[in-house]
Amino acid sequence: MKCDLPIELLNGYLDNELDDEQRAWVETHLKACPACRDELDVLKRIDRAVRDEVYEEPSSKFVLGLNRRVMEKVSIPRRRSLFRFAPVFVPVAAAFLILIVLINISPSKRLVDVNDRMFYEELAARQEVQVSIPEPKIARAPISKKGVAQADVDREKSAPARLEETRIAETAGKPDMPEAGIMAPAGEQVVRAIIDSTGIVIKVATGNTLVPEKDTMLENELSGQQLSPPTIAGRKKQVYVDFSTEE
């Protein structure tokens, strides 16, 4: 078709779906446009041909047996699917899953992964955590700083403790002092603190053994101290921080 008559209008005319005004307009156009008249003829012939299209007759099985098959199937009670419990089961399962997730992200219940730890230098460079911790009561002499990061320590009369090396990793399943994989070398002075995911100090231990012991006094002093929330891989996490010092 070469003219501007929209094909939809021509089809609408063929199907008798136009209003009076449209119909009159198309009829006027058709009188003046042989191309559209031809097109209309073609569409009519195609419709006729489709209507007369050969189609396979249904099988005798269908013609004679459909009623029986349908009635047989509808008289058999449908197998009760487990999905019928979906309205109850799905919300309960969803709530359970949410609970599991909440428990797992709860700082006090998190499973430890000692391999998933980071060096303080890296964190400090990213300004993700700024740790200030007083020198432990049992600290010895002022300590030289080897690492990049430094926590200013100002406690009583002790000199500022300097961080030699700080390691941060996820904490154990309970907020207790982690051991495996992060033990300080024997003889080194260790201050180890657990900082929750919001940056609050919740446990402190000190010592110069492989596993530091709970330091109640220092803990009382530091508990509740607000630090920048530590993050690992972009997620706020409860971490432990080791402040290994050397004499």
């Binding site: 094909i7 609408g12 007369d52 299209e53 050969v54 249904p58 099988s59 269908f62 349908v70």
Partner: protein, 186 residues
């Protein structure tokens, strides 16, 4: 017992009350018209028969939701057409049979193509052309031609706006015409 003169509503009222025998005359009444629609949509006898059976079963099982006084066949056809559309979507994903194979199958049925009359050839070419049409186009042409539905009825049945029906049908006919021209059908 029920017979051919019972109205759809009278039968459906009995079915709703639990008399499943009253459903038989309805199956008898509508199985062939429904088969024709299904066949035009899926172009395969076995699939069309299965779809009809499935539509009746679904209709029976959801008969309680049917409002007496409304046309039963339209409701049944809607169930069947939706089934067929879903079937075609699945079929489209899994179909591997190339069109040439369909063509070959049809050719095999012609024992002597040369002897065929022009009209017969045209009809078979129409069948092939319909097979080549996209499903969406085939469905809308089938509903228009087989059921002679109005644009409003197709709009309701396919759950698309009337304007979409109009443009989809126009495009479908245009495509069919092109296919036939390519097949050198006069």
């Amino acid at each position: 017992m029920y017979n051919k003169v019972d109205s759809d509503d009278a039968l459906l009222e009995s079915v709703k009350k639990g008399d499943c025998d009253a459903f038989n005359p309805l199956i008898e009444r509508y199985k062939l018209p429904l088969y024709k629609v299904m066949y035009r949509m899926v172009l395969n006898r076995d699939d069309a028969e299965d779809l009809v059976e499935e539509a009746f079963i679904k209709a029976y099982r959801s008969i309680k939701s049917f409002e007496l006084g409304r046309p039963f066949y339209s409701w049944l056809r809607r169930i069947a057409v939706n089934n067929a559309i879903n079937f075609l979507k699945k079929e489209h994903r899994t179909r591997s049979e190339p069109l040439e194979a369909v063509e070959r199958t049809l050719s095999d049925k012609r024992h002597d193509p040369v002897a065929m009359t022009r009209q017969k050839m045209l009809k078979e070419k129409i069948t092939l052309a319909m097979e080549k049409l996209p499903e969406e186009s085939r469905i809308i042409i089938s509903l228009k031609v087989e059921e002679d539905l109005s644009y409003d009825e197709m709009s309701e049945l396919l759950n698309i706006p009337k304007g979409t029906v109009m443009s989809r049908l126009a495009r479908a006919r245009h495509k069919l015409k092109k296919i036939l021209e390519d097949m050198e059908v006069p």
